[in-house]
């Protein structure tokens, strides 16, 4: 029997429509639905007509919740920590102490859990991967009714470690105004949310996470030729500490004034953030479209859009890693 609308609604929960449409497109399925009702109806029809299986849909939703609209902190674990997570005897014992049973597959997170909930950990040959879910409350104002509107949203946090070299990612959903991570004044605090999962990831891996400086990679991405990114927006500071924002409809590096400025003092600039599009033409077939990401050298975070999928995130991170190693 094919799933009901209510079951489909529950499975897709509060996942963004852009992400669901992008996933449908990647599966060569019709993706024109514009509203939540329309997209639920679309899934219902595809499932009823056996053009899509429930297992495929679940896998797709799992992939979306792990890649869509994430703020990604890039970091590394040291060589001692790497030895621990790559030694099966030591690491299995460590997980046992934490009462964690590794899973063989990625699992879909529960919708709107009452508190921070561990979803799964996969201890694979090349990658360690763990996921958590929790519920936040977004507040918006209904101006017509002069009311605050509270909406509960499931938030996903994913921790990924490359076992080859200890390169790690912590992928966060954007925090909303109300959640369980409080500051010393008992108020919800975004930094407390990020810190909680960083500490949890350190506990689960048994390794300290070392932050990475993204600024050298930002500089390298600007200066690499032939270009691998389109750069419409760049925030930087001149050597004299003036803050500058260059924005272009295409690429700031084609602007004669930017070129003149860069030629004069570009060596001394500190790149604070860049909004970039990864170019498919420079991706050796790994990208099928221009993929947006925002890199912040101040927070060391990479942000991707709601319609971004795992392969696109992996490509962006691979390139950032290449540019970091070029400059270190």
């Amino acid at each position: 029997m094919s799933p009901t609308r209510a079951q489909i609604d529950k499975a897709i929960g509060d996942i963004s429509i852009a992400a669901l449409r992008s996933w449908l497109k990647s599966q060569d399925l019709p993706s024109s639905a514009q509203t939540r009702d329309e997209i639920t109806e679309r899934f219902k029809k595809l499932l009823d007509e056996n053009k899509l299986s429930w297992e495929t849909l679940e896998k797709g939703i799992t992939g979306i919740e792990e890649a869509s609209a994430k703020r990604i902190t890039l970091c590394t674990i040291g060589s001692e920590g790497l030895k621990q997570i790559t030694n099966p005897t030591v690491f299995t014992k460590h997980l046992g102490k934490l009462k964690i049973n590794p899973s063989s597959d990625a699992l879909l997170a529960p919708r709107l859990p009452a508190k921070s909930t561990f979803v799964y950990l996969i201890d694979g040959p090349s990658q360690l991967r763990a996921k958590w879910a929790e519920t936040h409350t977004a507040i918006t104002i209904d101006v017509a009714k002069e009311q605050l509107v509270r909406t509960k949203i499931t938030k996903i946090v994913l921790f990924v470690v490359d076992k080859k070299d200890g390169f790690a990612q912590l992928r966060f959903d954007k925090p909303e105004l109300i959640h369980q991570h409080l500051d010393e004044k008992k108020k919800p605090n975004a930094t407390a949310y990020f810190s909680y999962y960083r500490a949890t990831a350190e506990e689960i891996s048994g390794c300290a996470l070392n932050s990475l400086e993204l600024r050298p990679a930002l500089r390298s991405l600007v200066e690499t030729t032939p270009r691998i990114v389109r750069l419409p927006l760049n925030d930087f500071r001149t050597g004299a500490n003036s803050r500058v924002r260059f924005a272009s409809r295409t690429d700031i590096r084609d602007d004669d004034d930017w070129k003149a400025m860069h030629g004069k003092g570009g060596e001394d600039w500190a790149h604070d953030s860049e909004a970039i599009y990864w170019l498919p033409g420079a991706s050796a077939g790994k990208l099928t479209r221009e993929v947006f990401s925002d890199l912040d050298g101040r927070t060391g975070k990479l942000r991707v859009e709601a319609d971004c999928h795992e392969g696109e995130i992996e490509y962006a991170i691979l390139k950032i890693r290449e540019h970091l190693s070029k400059t270190s």
Binding site: A190, E213, R215, G239, A240, N241, E267, D268, A270, S328
Partner: protein, 135 residues
């Protein structure tokens, strides 16, 4: 011997392995002060000296211990990228910052940015040598 150079020599004596980078940073600060810029921004020093920002921070903290620089927290409007206020301690950062450029009070932490800079202490660096001996 000036105060600056005796304090600097004291850092070098305690950290001989950092001599080259300490000397490069001291020269950088001297040049900045000479150009009228007394706020040393770790990210800019890192870019100018091709040294990692974390290492620059560590070196600046050694200078701070000797009283050559002092930490300042600068609060910028995230939207207008303009300096709004500065305080000596993180604890003094107000939850609400009025921004005259936006004509509003910024309450959301995303609406302002806090940056740690190190201010060259008055009168200490003016006579600083531009090329500090490395060996």
């Amino acid at each position: 011997m000036s105060t600056q150079s005796s304090k600097f020599e004291s850092i070098l004596a305690k950290h001989p392995k950092l001599r080259a980078n300490l000397a490069a940073l001291a020269s950088y600060i001297g040049r900045q002060v000479e150009a009228g810029r007394t706020d040393i921004v770790p990210a800019l020093a890192a870019a100018g000296l091709k040294i990692s920002e974390s290492e620059i921070l560590g070196l600046l903290m050694l200078f701070e211990k000797q009283g050559l620089v002092k930490p300042i927290y600068q609060i910028y409007c995230a939207e207008k990228k303009t300096l709004l206020a500065e305080v000596d301690s993180k604890d003094d950062i107000s939850e609400v910052v009025y921004c005259k450029y936006c004509d509003k009070e910024h309450r959301d932490p995303d609406e302002f940015e806090v940056e740690l800079v190190f201010r060259a202490v008055n009168g200490v660096w003016e006579a600083a040598p531009q090329n500090v001996a490395v060996s």
